[in-house]
Symmetry: C2
Subunit: 198 residues, 2 copies
């Protein structure tokens, strides 16, 4: 008498998407089944494929289809500078400034004690191993200037500073409380140039 189980399953599964509650999961399921079966098939396929082929780059930790991503494998990048960002989108913002030709490390998150994300969950040991490869001389912290991003920068600075690395932070050209993704490239470039020793 109730709805078909495959429909209930789909509605329920859609709730794994961030910000999607029961009502909007239902709306999404109806929309996909009723108005966009091609889009739904494409999404199911893209999701399956992404799960199959994506892994984390061994060096920079960002999403990659190969063990080492193309950027990390590029010998023209300056391997002495390592820029630490929270997410791949932040990396893209910095690349877009054309003001940095070093390498990156993508945390894939930030310290967030309230969400149970501490140094272990953020796998900071992987960053430490990467930064202490003997080639990296300076680590530039480009986490967001939010409370969590600042706390993350502080913790990383302590961990890496204790290991004799020069650690710097993007200057506060970035508005306090601002997220890199929402800042114009010129400001980010300036913040990069004026980075200060942590």
């Amino acid at each position: 008498m109730s709805s078909p189980s495959s429909l209930d399953e789909l509605i329920d599964a859609l709730r794994c998407l961030p910000g999607v509650g029961p009502r909007s999961a239902q709306r999404m399921a109806y929309h996909l089944l009723q108005r966009d079966q091609r889009g739904a098939a494409r999404l199911a396929h893209a999701m399956g494929r992404a799960l199959d082929v994506l892994r984390h780059c061994e060096r920079c930790n960002t999403f990659s289809e190969t063990d080492v991503c193309a950027r990390c494998a590029n010998p023209r990048r300056d391997a002495r500078q390592l820029c630490v960002v929270e997410m791949p989108a932040d990396l893209a913002v910095i690349e877009h400034t054309h003001a940095f030709d070093g390498l990156y490390y993508v945390l894939m998150g930030r310290l967030s004690p309230l969400d149970g994300i501490g140094p272990r969950e953020l796998k900071l040991d992987k960053l430490i191993a990467r930064a202490t490869d003997g080639v990296v001389e300076e680590v530039i912290l480009a986490t967001n200037f939010t409370n969590e991003g600042e706390a993350t920068a502080h913790t990383v600075a302590e961990l890496l500073g204790a290991r004799g690395l020069k650690v710097s932070r993007l200057s506060r050209g970035v508005p306090v409380g601002g997220e890199l993704e929402h800042v114009d490239a010129g400001t980010v470039a300036q913040a990069l140039v004026e980075r200060r020793t942590f």
Copy 2:
């Protein structure tokens, strides 16, 4: 140098979801790949399965895994009354009242000229064929009391009335338990017009 194509594909595919723009598609993709691969796998599977097995019930047009859904196949329902609703969720609301034991027809939408959804797109001929099966005596219109729902009810009423069927509409009025003071004037006015003999 850019993001892996399978990641871009996933982000792009997520945009087929209603209300999901580029920024939130990106956030969803990161979340799924980074924090909820199990949820993502389940979603991809549930979507594939729903696309495979779900069709529209031949009689009531709602989503069903069989040609005729269990409700329509139930001989204990009163086949002389047919309640027309916009979406499966509306059907569920009416079932929940336990005040109706007839059958349903689910439009899977509403007339919406601005979105290019006219009588043809809504497949009103399927409803007409269903309602004129010789068994249905009364069609109860339970579309929403929005502009589009009212226009839909009006059009359906004309089409079915012309074929000699009794057509009724859910009454408008003061909600049960409602205080006049907190009900909008339009509703109170309507309740006055539609007053019934005590």
